[in-house]
Symmetry: C2
Subunit: 112 residues, 2 copies
DNA sequence: ATTAATGGTTTAAACAAACGAACGAATGGT
DNA sequence: ACCATTCGTTCGTTTGTTTAAACCATTAAT
C-alpha cells in the first residue's frame, strides 16, 4: 500500500482520539483519574466533585472517552467505577503517527 | 513543582494542537502538504483543488494550523506559499506528554 | 493609472457540541 | 413493596465552529 494512503488511514484512525483528548473538560477528568488510579477507580460523583461539572456532563464526557478506548469501567451494583484503560493501544497508535510525520518533515528539511 | 500540576500545564499547552490536528479537513491539508513538501510549498489555490474545500475554508484552516505552529508561510508578491513547519517543537511536546501518561498508567498496572 | 490576480477578512447562516433539567432504569436497603 | 441511590439518556437551549458570499488590500502587468 502507498505510504501516503497509509498515512491518510492512520490520521483517520486517531481523529476521534485527538478530538477526545483536546477538550479541556475531558482533560480534567483524565488528570483526576491519573492521580487517583492507585485505587480501584472513581465514580461519577467523585468526578463531578473534582471537575466542577454537572453529572450529565461528566457522563457525556466519560462516554466519549470510553468510545476512544482511553478509559474503562467496572460496575458494582448501581455503582460504576471508571479508570484509565490499562492498554495503551490508542496512545501508541498516535505516537507512531507522530513519529511518521516527524520523519517526513526531517527528511524534507535535509533535502532542502 | 508538583508533577501533577506540571501534567495539567502540559495538557493545557497541547490542547489547541490536538484540536487543530483532530479535524478531518485540516488533516487533508496536512497530508497534501506532506506529500508536496519536497518543493517550495503550496498556494491556497493548490490546496482548494486538492482538498475540495472553498478558498475561505482553506484560509481559515491554514490560520488555525499556523497558530499552533504546524505550518509556516512565505510570501512572494501576492502569492503565499504554505509548508509544514520545519521545527517539530509542538509534536515533540505532545510526544513527551503521551510518554508521561503512558508511564503513569504502566506504573499503576504494575502496582495492582 | 487602470485592470487583473491573489488571498485575507467580515458577515451571516448552517451545523455541531456541550450543558442542565427532567426523566427512566436498575440496584440496594428498610 | 417502597423509597433512596446511582447513573445513563433524552430534550431543548446555548454556545462555538465551519462555511460560503461578498468585500477589501496588496501586488503585478499593461
Amino acid at each position: 500500500m502507498d505510504s501516503l494512503q497509509q498515512l491518510k488511514k492512520d490520521f483517520d484512525e486517531v481523529s476521534d482520539f485527538l478530538i477526545a483528548l483536546g477538550d479541556e473538560k475531558r482533560q480534567s477528568i483524565i488528570i483526576t483519574l491519573l492521580q487517583a488510579d492507585n485505587c480501584k477507580g472513581l465514580r461519577v460523583i467523585d468526578l463531578t466533585d473534582a471537575t466542577q461539572l454537572s453529572r450529565p456532563a461528566v457522563s457525556h464526557h466519560l462516554k466519549i472517552l470510553k468510545q476512544v478506548g482511553l478509559i474503562d469501567m467496572r460496575s458494582e451494583g448501581t455503582k460504576n467505577y471508571y479508570f484509565l484503560s490499562h492498554s495503551t493501544t490508542e496512545i501508541d497508535k498516535l505516537k507512531k503517527l507522530l513519529n511518521h510525520v516527524t520523519t517526513i518533515i526531517e527528511k524534507t528539511v535535509k533535502t532542502k
